[in-house]
C-alpha cells in the first residue's frame, strides 16, 4: 500500500509516494539520501536517528513516514546556514565532543531542541535531555561542555 504525503524537510517542500510500512528513517536515508541521520539499533533505544519533528526530537526509526505527513522535519543536514555552522555544531567541534561521530547528528539535534525550548538549562537538565542519546566514545563530558558553552551565550 502506497501513500502520497507532503512534508517539509530542512525547509524544502516534498511530495512523496511512500509505502505504509516505511519508517521516516528509511525515507530520509534511502529515498532522499540524507544519510547524516544514523541507525544504531532500529528499536528506538540509542538515539542515533534523532531528527526534529515539528521542533521535537524523535527517533526516526520509530516514526512511520506516513506519520510525518504535513509535518516539518529538521535533520543534521539542515542545521548549517551555508558555510556557517550552527553554534552547537561549532561547539561540538571546538570542545572535542566528536569522536567516531556516529551519535553526533542525533546528539546535536536533541541539544538543539533543548536549547530552543530553554536557552539556559542547568548541567543536570542537559544530562537529562541527552540521556536518550547513547555515546560509547566520549563519556559525555565534552558533549555536555559543548552544549553548556552554547547555552551560556
Amino acid at each position: 500500500m502506497t501513500h502520497q504525503i507532503e512534508l517539509i524537510i530542512n525547509g524544502e517542500h516534498y511530495e512523496l509516494m511512500v509505502k505504509a510500512n516505511k519508517t521516516l528513517l528509511e525515507l530520509l536515508r534511502e529515498d532522499l539520501d540524507l544519510t547524516g541521520t544514523k541507525m544504531g539499533c532500529g528499536t528506538g533505544d540509542c538515539g542515533a536517528c534523532t531528527v526534529l519533528l515539528d521542533n521535537r526530537p524523535v527517533n526516526a526509526c520509530l516514526v512511520l513516514a506516513v506519520e510525518a505527513r504535513g509535518k516539518e522535519i529538521v535533520t543534521i543536514e539542515g542545521l548549517a546556514q551555508g558555510e556557517t555552522l550552527h553554534p552547537l555544531q561549532q561547539a561540538f567541534i571546538d570542545h572535542g565532543a566528536v569522536q567516531c561521530g556516529f551519535c553526533t547528528p542525533g546528539m546535536i539535534l536533541t541539544a538543539k531542541a533543548l536549547l530552543d525550548n530553554n536557552p539556559n538549562p542547568t548541567e543536570p537538565m542537559i544530562r537529562r535531555a541527552i540521556a536518550g542519546n547513547i555515546c560509547r566514545c566520549t563519556g559525555y563530558t565534552k558533549i555536555v561542555k559543548a552544549i553548556m558553552a552554547v547555552a551560556s551565550r
Binding site: T75, G101, F102, A131, N133, Y140
Partner: protein, 757 residues
C-alpha cells in the same frame, strides 16, 4: 604541563574530521549506496551445538527478488582466525554449528526485507548435539568436544619466573582469592558493516567498518584464495570499534562471494542483535590469584591460574591468554611470578579483543587483592604501590623493557588528591594500570611491515599525508596531521589526508593495541623530516645560508637568527621542485620495532616498544539499603609520554572511564544455555549522560625516547584501572568486597549481609 615550544604539538586541536561528522557529511560504510546494490543477510544457527545434516535452499532461491543463496559449498572451505596457526572458523559452517549465531547460509536480495524473508525459507536439518556452556565443565576430558582434537582447550600458556613456592615461604602474609569477570560487548554505535563489489574477471573492492584495511585484505585473500593485489579494501569513517572490528568476519567473506555470484555490489549491515551475539565479546575469566608480601608491603610472589571462557572459536584467544599473563605485575615489580592460563572453548558467542584486551580482567583481580592486603596489613594502598612501582630503565621478569615511566609521579599526584575523612556512605577507591603502545611483534605472524607513511609537498603550500592508518574515531588522523604540521612548520588545515585504502596507501597494521600514535606517528615524523630536508636544502641555496640555520614554522622557512629573511612554505616547495628539474617533493617513513621476539611459550619478550602508566581514584556514594552505587568523581593521572593532542587524550580517558564504569557496575551479556537474553540497548544497559562520573584528568609526561615527540599510549590503559578503582571504592565505603563483575546492588547487599554475620 610543559609546552616544549612546539607550535602544534601539545595544543588542543579539534579533530580534522569533526566538521564533516557534525554536519552529517561524513560517509560511513552503512551510508554507501552503489548502483544496483543488493542487500545481504546471514542465516545463523539456532542451536548452540549441532551437526548440519542438510541445507535446502530451493524455496529461498525461488523467492521473487532473491539474487543468490550461498552455503559452505560456495566457499573454499578455508578456515580463518586472528592468529594464523590457530585458525578454526569457517566463513559458512561446513558440518557443524558451535554456537547460537554461527553462520550457515547467506542471501542477496533487491531489498533488506526480501533478504530477511528468504532466510526464513531456508530449511536446515540439524542433529542437535550435547552442548557445554560452563568453561569449568568444558575443560573436563569427558565434556562434549566442540572442535576436532583431544579436549576443549583452545590455548594454554604457562610460565614461571623465579620460584613462587619459595617466595610464598619468604612472605610475611599470603592472600588467596578467586575473581570472576563477565562477558561484555563493545557496543560501537555503528553496527558492523561492509559493501563488497566484485569486478570481473578477478578484482574485488570492499568498503568495511574495520580497524585495519591491510589486515582485512590479508584475511580476505587467504579465505577467498585471491592475490592481495586483486583485493582493494577501503575504510570509510568508522563509527566506533574498541577492538570489536579488528578481525575478519564471515559476513565479509559472504558479501564478497555474493557479489561475485550476482555481479552486483552487496551490502551487509549487522543488526544490533547480531553485533551483540555474533561478533565478539570480552573474555570472561575465572582468576585464581595468590599473592605473597612482606610486612612492609614489598611484593614477593604472585601466582595466577586463569581460565578464559573463549566461546566457540579461537579469535584472538592465544593473544588474550598471553596478555593476561604478561600484565600480571606491570606496573608493579614482584620477585617471583607464576602463570598458567587456559582458554577454553564453550558453545557460546566468541570472545576476542576489547579495549584493554585481557588486561582489565586481570587487573580487577590484582588491584582488588592488593587493596585487601593493604587493609589487612594496615598499609596505605598508594604507599604499597609506590614501594613496588616499576621505574624507567627497569626490565621486568618477563623482559618488558621500561624505556620511560612516570608511574611514581602518577601515584604522587593521586595521593595529593585524596581527601582525608569521608562521611558515612561515601568511599574512595584506588587502582593503577599499565598498557602497551602497540606490539613489537605481528600477532598473526605475517611478514608485512608495521607502519608506513608517504608525504608529498604541494606547491600551494599544502602537503598530502598518505598512510594506511585506519582512524576508528579516536582521532589518530588528527594526531598524524599534527605531527606532519609540526615537523614542516605549517598548519593542520594544510594537511590533506589520504588514508586507509589498500590500493592507494602504504601498509599500516591499523588501529589496535594502542599503536597508531607511537608507530604510525614515528613513520609520519620520519616522512615529514625527509620532506623538510629537501625543502631546507633548496631554500639554503636560495638564501645563501646553511640548511642548519633554517627553521620551518608558521608557514615559512626562515633564518633562525634573522626571521625576516625567509620565504613561504609554498615558495619553498616550488623552489625545491625547480631545483631538481621537476621531481616531486616526497618523503617516506617507516616504523619497525627494535625487538621483534616475544616467546609465547616462555612468556619472555618485550611486548611493546613503550608502556603507558596510570593511577586513579574513584569516589562513590552508596545507598546501603538498596545496594545502589553512584560514582561521583574519577581523578586520573596518566603517563602518556607526551600529550600530542591533550584534548583528544582527555577524550580517550573520559571514554575509557565511561566504558569502565558500565562494565564495572552493570554491563553483562546474560547467557542462558548459549542464548543471549539481552541483545539490545534496553536490556543491556550502557552508561548514559546521567550515569557517568565527573572526570578530572592530570597528564604526566615522561617523554619516551622512542615515541614521536615522546608520545605513548592513551586509548586503552585507563579502562584497566577504572574497574578496580570502583570496586575498591565500594569496599572502602561499605566494607563489603565483591569478587565478581559486574558489581551489582544484589551482590553488594549479599556481601554486606555476609560481613555482618
Amino acid at each position: 604541563m610543559k609546552h616544549h615550544n612546539y607550535s602544534i604539538i601539545g595544543h588542543r586541536q579539534p579533530a580534522v574530521d569533526a566538521a564533516s561528522k557534525a554536519t552529517g557529511q561524513a560517509q560511513y560504510t552503512v551510508d554507501i549506496q552503489l548502483p544496483g546494490m543488493l542487500w545481504g543477510k546471514i542465516l545463523r544457527s539456532k542451536y548452540p551445538h549441532a551437526r548440519i545434516l542438510n541445507i535446502d535452499t530451493s524455496k529461498a532461491e525461488k523467492l521473487a527478488g532473491i539474487k543468490a543463496v550461498i552455503t559452505h559449498k560456495d566457499t573454499l572451505g578455508k578456515k580463518f582466525g586472528f592468529v594464523r596457526n590457530t585458525a578454526d572458523q569457517y566463513p559458512l559452517a561446513v558440518d557443524k554449528v558451535r554456537y547460537i549465531g554461527d553462520e550457515i547460509a547467506a542471501v542477496a536480495a533487491v531489498a533488506e526485507d526480501v533478504a530477511e524473508e528468504a532466510l526464513a525459507l531456508i530449511r536446515v536439518d540439524y542433529e542437535v548435539l550435547p552442548a557445554v556452556f560452563d568453561p569449568l565443565e568444558a575443560i573436563d576430558p569427558e565434556a562434549p568436544l566442540i572442535h576436532d582434537g583431544q579436549n576443549n582447550i583452545s590455548a594454554r600458556l604457562a610460565w614461571e619466573f623465579g620460584n613462587v613456592e619459595e617466595g610464598f615461604g619468604e612472605s610475611d602474609f599470603v592472600r588467596q582469592d578467586t575473581f570472576y569477570t563477565q562477558p561484555v560487548n563493545h557496543c560501537p554505535l555503528e553496527p558492523h558493516a561492509c559493501v563488497a563489489s566484485f569486478e570481473p574477471p578477478d578484482h574485488l573492492t570492499v568498503w568495511a567498518s574495520t580497524q585495519g584495511v591491510f589486515y582485512l585484505r590479508n584475511q580476505l585473500s587467504r579465505t577467498l584464495d585471491m592475490p592481495i593485489s586483486n583485493i582493494r579494501v577501503i575504510r570509510p569513517q568508522v563509527g566506533g570499534a574498541f577492538g570489536g572490528k579488528i578481525e575478519l568476519f564471515p559476513f565479509n567473506v559472504c558479501a564478497a562471494i555474493l557479489s561475485q555470484k550476482t555481479g552486483k555490489p552487496v551490502k551487509i549491515v549487522c543488526t544490533r542483535e547480531e553485533v551483540f551475539t555474533a561478533t565478539r565479546c570480552r573474555h570472561p575469566m575465572i582468576i585464581h590469584l595468590k599473592t605473597g608480601v612482606k610486612k612492609d608491603g614489598a611484593l614477593v610472589a604472585v601466582q595466577a591460574r586463569i581460565i578464559l571462557d573463549g566461546g566457540a572459536y579461537n579469535s584472538t584467544g592465544p593473544v588474550a591468554t598471553y596478555l593476561a599473563g604478561a600484565f600480571l605485575c606491570l606496573p608493579l615489580k614482584a620477585r617471583n611470578i607464576k602463570y598458567e592460563g587456559f582458554r577454553v572453548y564453550t558453545n557460546k558467542p566468541v570472545c576476542g579483543a576489547q579495549r584493554g584486551h585481557a588486561v582489565p580482567q586481570i587487573r580487577f583481580a590484582i588491584e582488588s587483592q592488593l587493596d585487601i592486603i593493604a587493609e589487612t596489613l594496615g598499609l596505605d594502598p598508594i604507599e604499597l604501590h609506590l614501594k613496588n612501582a616499576v621505574q624507567t630503565g627497569d626490565v621486568t621478569l618477563n623482559k618488558q623493557v621500561i624505556t620511560s615511566c612516570g608511574f611514581s609521579e602518577c601515584l604522587e599526584k593521586i595521593k595529593a588528591q585524596r581527601s582525608p575523612a569521608l562521611p558515612e556512605g561515601k568511599g574512595i577507591g584506588f587502582a593503577t594500570c599499565a598498557f602497551v603502545s602497540g606490539a613489537t611483534y605481528h600477532l598473526f605472524f605475517t611478514t608485512e611491515a608495521f607502519a608506513n607513511a608517504i608525504i608529498q609537498a604541494n606547491e600551494d603550500g599544502t602537503v598530502s599525508l598518505i598512510t594506511g592508518v585506519a582512524d576508528i574515531g579516536q582521532g589518530s588522523d588528527t594526531v598524524l596531521a599534527m605531527i606532519t604540521a609540526e615537523e614542516l612548520g605549517i598548519g593542520v588545515k594544510d594537511i590533506k589526508l589520504i588514508t586507509a585504502d589498500t590500493d592507494l596507501t602504504p601498509y599500516d597494521w591499523g588501529s589496535g593495541s594502542s599503536r597508531v600514535t607511537y608507530q604510525a606517528g614515528n613513520a609520519t615524523k620520519m616522512a615529514a623530516a625527509q620532506v623538510k630536508k629537501l625543502l631546507l636544502e633548496a631554500v639554503s641555496h636560495e638564501l645563501d645560508v646553511y640548511p642548519e640555520e633554517l627553521v620551518a614554522r608558521d608557514g615559512r622557512i626562515f633564518v633562525r637568527d634573522r626571521p625576516e629573511k625567509g620565504i613561504s612554505f609554498a615558495e619553498a616547495v616550488s623552489l625545491a621542485q625547480k631545483s631538481t628539474g621537476g621531481e616531486p617533493i616526497i618523503g617516506q617513513g617507516e616504523f619497525q620495532p627494535q625487538e621483534a621476539k616475544v616467546n609465547l611459550q616462555s612468556g619472555e619478550g618485550n611486548t611493546s616498544p613503550a608502556y603507558s602508566f596510570g593511577a586513579q581514584l574513584a569516589q562513590v556514594e552508596i545507598d546501603k539499603e538498596l545496594g545502589k552505587v553512584k560514582v561521583t568523581k574519577m581523578v586520573v593521572a596518566h603517563d602518556c609520554g607526551l600529550a600530542i593532542n591533550p584534548m583528544a587524550i582527555e577524550g580517550q580517558i573520559e571514554g575509557s572511564i565511561a566504558m569502565g564504569h558500565g562494565q564495572a557496575l552493570y554491563e553483562e551479556l546474560i547467557q542462558e544455555k548459549g542464548q543471549t537474553l539481552n541483545a539490545d540497548f534496553i536490556n543491556y544497559r550502557l552508561p548514559t549522560a546521567r550515569d557517568v562520573p565527573e572526570v578530572e584528568t592530570m597528564l604526566v609526561e615522561s617523554v619516551d625516547p622512542g615515541g614521536p615527540y615522546g608520545a605513548k599510549e592513551s586509548g586503552e590503559g585507563i579502562i584497566v584501572s577504572t574497574i578496580p578503582a570502583i570496586a575498591n571504592a565500594i569496599s572502602n565505603a561499605t566494607g563489603g568486597r565483591i569478587h565478581s563483575l559486574p558489581l551489582t546492588p544484589e551482590k553488594l547487599l549479599k556481601a554486606l549481609e555476609q560481613k555482618t554475620k
